[in-house]
Symmetry: C2
Subunit: 146 residues, 2 copies
């Protein structure tokens, strides 16, 4: 169900995004963020505002999906810490950010939404980007088995 | 289990914080944040780093607790949006932030970790603070029943 005025519903991304996993309830993308290779997003297809607007079964499914993506991020990207957040102030259409964090990333230890404090070496970012096919494979494998 | 070097384990907060709910696994506090009345935190007692380090039963329990706090925040604080996040870059000891957001809050629509863009009217903040006893009661009621 799309909702008029929702940027995400209007964007076409809900149907057209290149995804690493998709089913009839949700899909998972690897965000194209130059500073944060491995940044993933889990997006609920229906226009729902908050986790507590979901039916219990759907809420558990979405939590499990975020959990599997977190695990795939850990096993392939080896981050210092994983950040997991559902904000949606700009786009109040339920989605979760799963962000691998490293001591040398642009904002560490602050959240990625704070002011950047450094630039990560391009060679380090390149090495992390080289892991993205493995990350995509790990997410797909985990979610197809779950 | 405490861990040497963890700010949260060392702080004594794990045992001494005034809580709105506590059991042997976790506790819930209302954060004393002048700009964000109703900001809640769910803190896992044992020193665990990531959600995916928890046993499945504990992970489900923590997710359910965050869900109940989100519901209590919605029903008592009537926010425009709820933000839910587990970051822990500074203190890698598992905890969740549940933050009621309003169009007139200090950062909206940016995350609360971005640069503040306004000051909320003190009378508005006072009215929100007046809801905190109801929020505490709603959290305790929901979690004691769950």
């Amino acid at each position: 169900m799309n909702e008029a005025g929702c940027e995400l519903c209007a964007s076409g991304e809900l149907n057209a995004a290149p995804t690493v996993y998709a089913d009839d309830k949700l899909f998972v993308i690897i965000v194209d963020d130059a500073s944060y290779p491995g940044f993933c997003r889990v997006i609920w297809r229906d226009h729902v505002r908050e986790m507590s607007d979901l039916a219990q079964e759907d809420r558990l499914l979405l939590n499990e999906t975020v959990f599997h993506v977190e695990q795939a991020v850990r096993e392939t990207m080896a981050p210092t810490k994983v950040n997991v957040a559902s904000l949606g102030n700009v786009v109040p259409h339920l989605h979760w950010h799963i962000i691998p964090r490293y001591a040398d990333d642009a904002h560490f230890p602050a959240p990625v939404w704070a002011t950047a404090v450094r630039k990560t070496d391009e060679s380090v970012l390149e090495a992390r980007r080289a892991q993205l096919p493995h990350l995509a494979e790990a997410i797909a494998r985990r979610l197809q088995q779950s």
